[in-house]
C-alpha cells in the first residue's frame, strides 16, 4: 500500500516521541525525525519531547557542514506543515547544560521536569530515541 494519500483508520492516539540523544554523535536524532514525519501521515495526536542531551538537537546556532553531515535542524521547521506543533523542552535539562531558553530553531514550550513526567504518563504510545 502506498502512504501517499495519508489514509487513516480513524483512531487517534496520543503519540509522544522522546528525544534524549545529542544530534550528531549517533543516528538517533535524525532517525527520530524521520519516524515523526512518517507518523504525521497517519493523523495522530503527536507531541515531541526534548530532554537530557536531546535538547542539543534544536540549537539554532548548529552548523555541521564542517563535519560533512547534513544539517537537519531546518527540517524541524517543516514540522508545522505536518501539523506537528507540540514541541516540549525540559527546563532542568537546559539548566544542566548551561543553555538559554531562546536559542531554538523552532518555537517550543519549555516545561519543568515534573510537567514532563506528567505529560509522559498521559500518552497512549511513547517512542524513545
Amino acid at each position: 500500500m502506498s502512504m501517499e494519500e495519508g489514509e487513516t483508520t480513524g483512531v487517534v492516539k496520543r503519540f509522544l516521541f522522546v528525544n534524549r540523544k545529542a544530534p550528531y554523535g549517533t543516528i538517533y536524532a535524525l532517525e527520530a525525525l524521520e519516524v515523526v514525519l512518517i507518523t504525521a501521515a497517519f493523523d495522530q495526536d503527536v507531541s515531541l519531547a526534548f530532554l537530557d542531551d536531546g535538547v542539543y538537537q534544536l540549537l539554532k546556532t548548529a552548523d555541521p557542514t564542517g563535519i560533512g553531515m547534513k544539517n537537519f535542524a531546518p527540517t524541524y521547521r517543516a514540522l508545522d506543515d505536518y501539523d506537528i506543533t507540540k514541541l516540549f523542552v525540559e527546563r532542568e535539562s537546559l539548566e544542566e547544560r548551561g543553555l538559554p531558553e531562546d536559542n531554538f530553531v523552532v518555537p517550543v514550550t519549555v516545561i519543568s521536569r515534573a510537567e514532563m513526567a506528567d505529560m509522559m504518563a498521559a500518552q497512549d504510545v511513547v517512542l524513545s530515541f
Binding site: A117, D118, M120, A121, Q123, D124, V126, S128
Partner: protein
C-alpha cells in the same frame, strides 16, 4: 506507565534520568546492563533502595543470571521477574517507555 532501562548505571546516566520521571502509578523494570543497578552495596543500588519506597522496581532475572549476579546480592524490595513476568508488566500498564 512502565519504564524500562537497559544501560549500566556506571556507563550512562539513563537510570537516574529515568527515575526522575516516574509518576505515581508508574513502575521501573531493569533489563540488560541496567540490572547491575539492582546490586546491593553500590551507588546505584542505594538509589534503587530509595526508589522502591516510592514505586515498584523490577529486574529481569535471566539478565541477572547471565551476568552472574546472585539473588542475595539484589537490593531488598526489588522484584525479580522472568520473561512471562515482563510481558505481564507490559499488559498491566497503559504504556511503556524504553529509556535508551
Amino acid at each position: 506507565m512502565l519504564h524500562t532501562v537497559n544501560k549500566s548505571p556506571l556507563q550512562s546516566r539513563t537510570l537516574e534520568q529515568c527515575l526522575a520521571h516516574v509518576r505515581p502509578g508508574g513502575a521501573v523494570l531493569l533489563i540488560e546492563d541496567a540490572v547491575y543497578a539492582a546490586t546491593a552495596r553500590t551507588a546505584a543500588g542505594a538509589q534503587i533502595e530509595k526508589s522502591v519506597a516510592q514505586f515498584p522496581v523490577y529486574v529481569l532475572e535471566p539478565d541477572l543470571k547471565a551476568r552472574g549476579i546472585a539473588s542475595k546480592d539484589v537490593v531488598k524490595g526489588v522484584t525479580a521477574v522472568d520473561y512471562a513476568g515482563f510481558v505481564k508488566l507490559v499488559t498491566e500498564h497503559d504504556a511503556v517507555q524504553a529509556w535508551l
